[in-house]
Symmetry: D2
Subunit: 448 residues, 4 copies
């Protein structure tokens, strides 16, 4: 009999810093190594790149993987299923402790590589393995990894299925059922249903929005909202600025298209805009969706130069797409609001937030400050031009029905979220403590 | 000098029972005569059709037009700008007191006629005048009425412009700036801008959603949401029921199209579904958008017969579109939830609410009851598949800029809403009490 | 070794219908048998007294004790720890199935007896055993029951400690740490600390308000609020009506005292006011706190007669304390609001709600209706003159520190509440699934 | 005929920066000159003491009194009705522009003097006149000022009545009807009723909490809450820290008493604690309520020394009462939370917030940060041990009935608050625009 254990390392008591270890006898596969940024945010003057992992663990910013010492076995692979920081942000702090390859899809791997290059404290020597959605990789003789295409809010997301002699474990964290996506293919439902028929021993699944009614709308609806607002502004000679997630390439693509349709030149501005664009440039199939001559700038001088040009040629000719949707100090929108750039806001100019406020009081305060400053200049503000990238209640219900796993382990959430997932599972006949399990950071469950 | 007065009769202290009188010297034009249904709802056993207007006035259900006695002048016309009950619902109770024609667009007039036919207490003999959007009608030698196409959440909505020797008064209650509508043409912005250039003395404008950030998305976004949910349900052999506003013909059209696309026969069920369908049948340009053989039933026996057939042929072949989105007692969805029809809900069946809860505690309680009962049967619920029909903050900002009226009079809202409108107007340079005016039911303002 | 099991029968998935079975080898002790009224409320025309238990179980209104068949052993006692309906309301429907005495404090037993007398469907023959706080009762040779005085929002509440050869189990559902109570002694903290030192195997504890910050204030604060409002109303010649929980005798006492202090004659009106007063009359130590000649009426005719007298003698001379704080149909306040009694409300009369809205949409709607009707008559309304009877977060933290139980089993709450309790326990070093346990209705846990 | 005008200078579009000018023919009396701190808070590195008034006006931080140039007449007096910064905080920036005495109660005047001493930009030479509650002062031959005792959340608050040939104007901003106050006498209701009988032309009244149901409880209830929490903490050997408003002397007195009762030595720590204590020391009748040997420290070194001593002697022997209830950067609680003082928090220590979060997102974020840091150290937190100092809806209803002014002018609030006040006034028969007036900053109304 194979002995399989699931170890909740991070992301089971909170949203953020995801990390799960799956143990098959003495072989361990780690899923994700994320960071939790709001733990950092309440402290000032923290420079993550230079910090030691133990300090970050103590702050609750990265998973406490010291518990791995108590797990008998060797780590054979580190798998990252998409490129958001709460899934890859601790790789540069933790991966060097394990003699194991890092496996990810090409886009995700680009982002991991960037991070490893900017790390100042540790030197990471792990092998990097690029694996496409739909492909498989043999981790050991007995463990095969399969990547299955899903949709979320960053390109190239996958579920990771571990096929073992003891059964298949599906790691499903994060996703949405987008049937009309803007980038990449829709979720590979055919394969998921097939997996379900073949039998899945355990599914580890995100639970961030399980309390939200219904299904999460397609990113296509977000595109419509973006088009509706940008092309619908009657007041065509005012300045318009859009701010959104730098990693949300599909969204940025929609904004770029809306810009073109309304006769404005789109420009991507901000350090992280530039960083993600570097990754996009490596992905031909994404790159080709954007205009050849798209202007992107990440360095402060260059940005100010472009903003100067925009002002002199006429704001109504451009559509800057900038960082700062959470009012982050130092982001472009914040600097513009503070009057620290050549782009002076005037009465009637528009700022469009294609993002929601990530619900922490620090973000609320930052957003309030930037919105107040903009309003004092007479700027018109459009908020929440956005659709989530996370599955809602009925999406989860559908996924559970498709996969029909023997065990369900909700992850990526606090107890209130994973508890809600358990209640949903109960509606499908699962029983808490028997086949749906509430793990807490630091706990291991043995699957019978 | 012409002496112009605006009399706030109803809808200035509340949402609902809209009625405004515009006095040009001794000639009076009444805009809208609506009912406020939540005033009725807290009382049991009220049968409106048989009630006298004074009792309804005392309950706060219809405008208190007794104040009209103190206005010197004669009513020359009663104008209804769209067919919702909060704009036409008191016509059958109040119009007979005035010797004046009722003027409305064709679809609106159909609904008024229906209402007059079902009135049991009063006999209404006023002349009925159908006027199309884009057309004008001479009320007196000195007063010309013009209808301007707008969009809202019922077909055939208009703004009413009264051209007088003293200037133009624009009645703009209700609307949204929908640039990609499903039915009818978009808002006639060209004419609105022209009006603005010609000069508008006063604009009376709704204020229900002026506190909502940004712009109200197009009904096209609602269509996407409907499509996304209905065609995106993986579980194709379960029953699906949609409930929405019977008067929201554009929405119903989207649901009907989604039904067809997912291979289900759409069926409209419910007394008010049938009533609005009667009006639709008279409008060829709307009727032709629907399938020739669309099934519609309003009478209880017939509905139960159809539901029986659906069950016997297979729920997965049909898409009932039913009344009851607010959980109203007696509506089809409520009856289904109570197990009072041949359509038995089973585990995994879906109910889609293409509507929000109209925010009164009574509705919240009714919705809670129906949702709880459905969930107890294992039904999966999708809520808020909806986009509003009312302008949001930035839409109002754009309208004010287009029209640039000398005076602004926010209407259709409580003081908190009309007050918010005044604050918005202040951002455009208006001054409270000078050129933006907060009226209360029963007050008249003289325009200088 | 003794084999001890805790069976979650009801109240582990919801607030209401509490029932826990504690099994010591083959001997079973049942703690509480409650009803959940909001499950009944969404259905109309339900007459509980005549309903069969299986129907009530199916509606989710009473605990599903059919699972008891699968528990090996015999029920030796049914213990009720206080007299609220969510703890005793199912006794008349379920107790007859067990050949075991019902044990409760004197006040609680009065209420149980009333209920058994009004039951129409079943005949209950169980022996009734009155046990005072501070006393013990030998259930079997090996099981001793001890009642420990606590405070809540009804007189004569206790924790039940079961002393067995396998250790002590403490049933702590519901309570608050009131150090300045109005009725009875404060919580017997001395005994609780002693218990903690002796060792407690398991504590079963309520979790309704564990999410509320800090500590729940003393009922003494509620008394101050009541005094402040009633004696502070400057307008001394208007009518004042207070509505509060009929079972909250301490609160009623404070209102009665405030009435006297402001020179008004207190009168208790309403069916359930009368019913609880019947129980009070049997408790000499409570009875003597009230005026000798207190007027109480439960029967409709009598109530109307008293209200008539009040109106004729002058409203300012009386203080009616009535049922209807949730706007319940048929309650006295509701009837007064509907104008169905001789007590006509006039402009400037006051209604004081010494209660919060129990948070279900049905209550919100009922309260909205009654408040709206009262406001339409010009009545001034004072709400939330109230302090909760349930422990808050820090009270629970203190209790856990006092008792220091080996195992903690949060009860009386949905998973979100019991989950929050578990998180609190984690702050004290407990580990989910090891020594703090989330049970769901129908589950048994074996204690190691 | 006397010509009376009321000029809304500040506090009519917002909470904060109160300033109203009352013009009697050519004589002007200014009521309050306040600052609005949240306008400053969104900017970093602002040092108010060194800023020019025009810059502060531009930021919206102090009233825009440049409009006074357009008012014909001379300022004869500047009256401050209590010592909160939103009523006196702009005196040092604006008073020097007027050749007029500053009139205030003794405690208020102490605070004004402190402020004038710390001003770095302007030199203020106005005469300072101390006037007690119950006394009058002749401003001109025709204008007499009367101070009437009220209660709020700082000592020595008054209403200001201006008796003029044209009638009496009552300035009632801020107050609560506290019938059981901790400091000073209750509101002088006898005099208010008398004023009402004599006739009041206009009442200018605060509206911050007019939307809150019922009446604001007495400060006595806050004292009970403080006692309940502090003396009720079972865990007597842990550290306890209380944080509250430095200016709320009555509250501090209650905390000091609770400290004594629980055998702990109270210590007041923080710059503003020290500053207000300086003012208290000048008021014998307040000073004598506190222990002779009360320890107070405002200077950093001294504070750290005291904290060191507390730690070495035993935290359980002291009760530090500190600044930082809003999590303000630099305040003592914030420094303790950051580990920047000798007072190390340990597991089980308590922090009691005897304050609510003043509702701006910046405060919410600061409070979140400090609470999170404290919780990470295992500190137990008690929040909202507080009762407001502002009148609620029914208090306002009572005041209006007492005074029965010909005109009502709600102030100190945004339009949503002053609008709510107007709706309340309507319930008493006032008519918007006729005898209840909504002014906006910069507007003058002439009283007929």
């Amino acid at each position: 009999m194979v002995d399989i254990g699931i170890v909740a390392v991070g992301g089971y008591n909170e949203v953020g810093r995801n990390m799960t270890a799956i143990r098959i006898d003495k072989d361990i596969v780690i899923m994700d190594m994320g960071i939790r940024l709001d733990s950092v945010q309440i402290h000032e003057d923290v420079e993550i790149e230079r910090m030691h992992s133990l300090d970050l663990i103590q702050m609750g910013a990265i998973p406490d993987d010291t518990i791995m010492n108590q797990i008998e076995g060797s780590v054979r692979a580190i798998v990252c299923t998409h490129g958001h920081l709460d899934h890859i942000g601790a790789v540069s702090k933790l991966a060097h402790r394990y003699k194991a390859p890092i496996i990810a899809t090409p886009f995700t791997m680009e982002l991991i590589s960037q991070q490893l290059r900017s790390e100042r404290k540790f030197r990471i020597g792990n092998t990097l393995v690029r694996l496409n959605a739909g492909e498989t990789y043999r981790i050991t003789d007995d463990i095969e990894l399969e990547f299955i295409r899903v949709q979320h809010s960053i390109p190239d997301c996958v579920f990771a299925a571990l096929h073992t002699r003891g059964g298949t474990i599906l790691y499903a964290n994060d996703f949405k059922f987008d049937r009309f996506p803007i980038l990449n293919e829709p979720v590979d439902e055919r394969r998921l249903r097939q997996l379900g028929r073949e039998g899945v021993l355990a599914m580890i699944v995100e639970s961030t929005r399980v309390d939200v009614n219904g299904k999460t709308p397609s990113e296509n609806v977000a595109k419509d909202l973006v088009m509706d607002v940008i092309t619908g502004i009657g007041d065509t000679d005012s300045g318009i600025i859009v701010t959104t997630f730098s990693s949300h390439i599909a969204r940025i693509l929609s904004v770029v298209e809306a810009a073109s349709r309304s006769g404005r030149v789109p420009v991507l501005l901000g350090r992280s805009m530039d960083r993600y664009w570097e990754a996009v440039k490596k992905m031909e199939y994404i790159r080709e969706r954007f205009p050849e001559d798209l202007l992107v700038a990440g360095d402060r001088k260059q940005i100010d130069k472009i903003l100067k040009r925009i002002v002199s040629e006429g704001k109504e000719k451009y559509l800057p797409i900038v960082t700062g949707h959470q009012g982050e100090p130092g982001a472009i929108l914040t600097r513009i609001g503070d009057g620290d750039t050549p782009y002076e806001m005037s009465k009637g100019d528009k700022v469009i937030f294609s993002a929601t406020i990530i619900p922490t009081p620090m973000n609320a305060a930052n957003r309030y400050a930037i919105e107040t400053k903009l309003r004092m200049k007479g700027v018109r503000i459009y908020t929440d031009i956005h659709v989530s990238g996370h599955a809602a209640r009925e999406d989860h219900w559908e996924l559970m029905r498709m996969i029909n796993p023997t065990h369900v382990i909700p992850s990526h959430g606090n107890l209130s979220m994973t508890g809600s997932y358990a209640e949903l599972a109960e509606e499908l006949g699962y029983v808490l403590g028997e086949d749906v399990h509430l793990l807490r950071n630091g706990q291991e469950i043995a699957l019978r």
